[in-house]
Amino acid sequence: MGNLYHNKTAQWLVYAAFFAGLAVIPMTVDDSFLLNQLATYGVYGMLALSISLCWGFGGILNLGQGIAFGLGAYGMAMTMQMQTQDESNPIPPFMLNNSLDHLPMLWQPFQNTYIGMILAVAAPTLFCAVFGGIMFRARVSGPFFAIMTLAMLSAFYTIIIDRQPYTGGVNGLTPPSSLQFAGFEVDPYSPTAYWVVFSFLLGATVLAKLITQSSFGLVTQAIRDDSERVRFLGYSVAGYETVIYTVSGLIAAVAGCCWVMLVQYVSPAQLDVGFSLSMVIWAAIGGRYSLLGSIIGAFIIQGAQSYLGDAFLATWLLILGGFFIVVVRFLPNGLASLVESGLGLFATKRGPASAEPNGDAKPIPAE
């Protein structure tokens, strides 16, 4: 018997247990703040998951995941903003302040909630497909792709700030009331909002997990390993990279929509380089090769930020920075690799030597 960590059945069981645990929370907890906060962590978990899928499994480091997240969030915020406008008052207040006397074309589709929400997800996904398609066909990869996403992110960030009449500029968009959907009002502090995010996180995780276990996932991992070689096996590397980058963008876009549903706010800060970097950090800390590990990484970092950040006020960033350094230095595959080597001790095939940190003993990061 090999390491339980790489056993697919065991993995599915752990995932099931994790989500069962999350599902119990709203039934036992009556704290609207905690529910809202955990739902927000769920959104961050989706982001970390999307990074893990793209970077851990696809080998594509994306420092611009904020593009998909931010565009999704803006789309959702526009939809919610338009829900609060009515016939007598068709234009969001910030536009009046910017001397717009009619609703711009860009905003018109968002008058319809359903079209708006579809656009909020479809537009960033399409962007990823086109941008990814162009870049991967040109065989841009590795650090170079990372830099391109960084530049693209900065471009979006600046243009949103500059086009204040259409985007609200630095202040962003603040839809004054919560999302109405099919006659229901989704109170961001209610268990409903929690369940919505929970379902999307569950859905995204199952999707990602299935992808990694499909033939597609196998080829993707092969591309991560040696993209050159895989071409000669007949696979279109650019095609695979584009698909995984786009799926990852889709998850991030959905996360953006959920985020706005929870906080009723979006600003260019969501497209800031720092935020996209923290998504990568979550995945790296949790373990980029593990989908669940990445989600937990986001939970840990954000939870610690919320609960320890104020306790250690002045030294918090020192602790956080130091933690990153230690994890990257000694646990290159994140906290998940602790579990892996822990389970490795029980595996019959391998002795304690497998705890050796250089990762030589690990066959593949299949999880």
Partner: protein, 248 residues
């Protein structure tokens, strides 16, 4: 009957250096053709040109009556050309099993593969190839920890998993023991029944064992083509090889 692979007047220059110069050859279906020549003759470059890794400056490559000149690597691979590299190229972070699974590339469309979890016929083929390559006991090991010989076998196994019509083997026996070489000879002879092979090799003994036809390259051009006996009797080939030896 036209050859399975035809190369017409192929040329390739890097900057001002002509690496391949008006080179033409033809490989008949169901035969094993050895490509030989001194270092720098352009053998590997020719392989690169056939498989689309580099684009020719001029000339034409036809495979199974289809022009594949300057097409993308994966398109050429899909049309039925498998390649083993000179420096064995396997997926070092994946297990031997996964290497072979990836190589079983019946379905290459990314969207279809999203929904594929069990590939029909894979298990049987994998067992067969693993046995052939002698890797049955190492299926769950990481490819990166294999010995050089095992890595060679794995890559040959990967090419076989592709079930190509044309196999390009760049120095397949480098680093193999006597016994392994004999095994390779057996396998190649077997393969010839169902596929066509082009083998780049230095070891003339090995070439003598397997070649139906030999193509000699020199300075990027065709020097001679024929059976092994014809080649060994060819004065120009001798001159080139002897000249080489003198220079060395």
């Amino acid at each position: 009957m036209p050859g399975l692979l035809e190369i017409h007047n192929l040329s390739k220059s890097f900057d001002t250096t002509k690496v391949i110069n008006d080179f033409s050859m033809e490989v008949t279906e169901g035969t094993l053709c050895c490509l030989v020549g001194p270092n720098g003759a352009g053998k590997t470059t020719t392989m690169d040109l056939i498989t689309g890794r580099i684009k020719p400056t001029s000339g034409k490559i036809v495979f199974a009556n289809e022009d594949i000149t300057a097409k993308h690597e994966h398109i050429i691979a899909r049309s039925g050309i498998g390649r083993k590299f000179q420096v064995p190229a396997v997926l070092r972070d994946m297990t031997v099993r996964q290497n072979l699974e990836v190589a079983y590339s019946r379905q290459t469309n990314p969207f279809w593969n999203l929904f594929k979890f069990r590939v029909a016929g894979l298990k049987q083929k994998l067992d067969e190839i693993a046995t052939l390559a002698g890797l049955t006991g190492r299926l769950n090991d990481r490819a990166g920890i294999l010995s050089h010989g095992e890595t060679q076998w794995l890559e040959i196994g990967m090419v076989l998993m592709q079930e190509p019509r044309l196999l390009l083997m760049d120095e397949p026996i480098a680093g193999m023991t006597e016994g392994e070489i004999e095994k390779t000879v057996r396998i190649f002879r077997d393969l010839r029944k169902t596929a066509t092979l082009v083998v780049v090799e230095h070891d003339m003994g090995f070439v003598r064992e397997i070649a139906d036809e030999v193509v000699v390259m020199h300075m990027g051009s065709l020097l001679a083509q024929g059976t092994i006996q014809q080649i060994e009797g060819n004065a120009r080939v001798r001159e080139v090889y002897l000249g080489e030896q003198e220079a060395a």
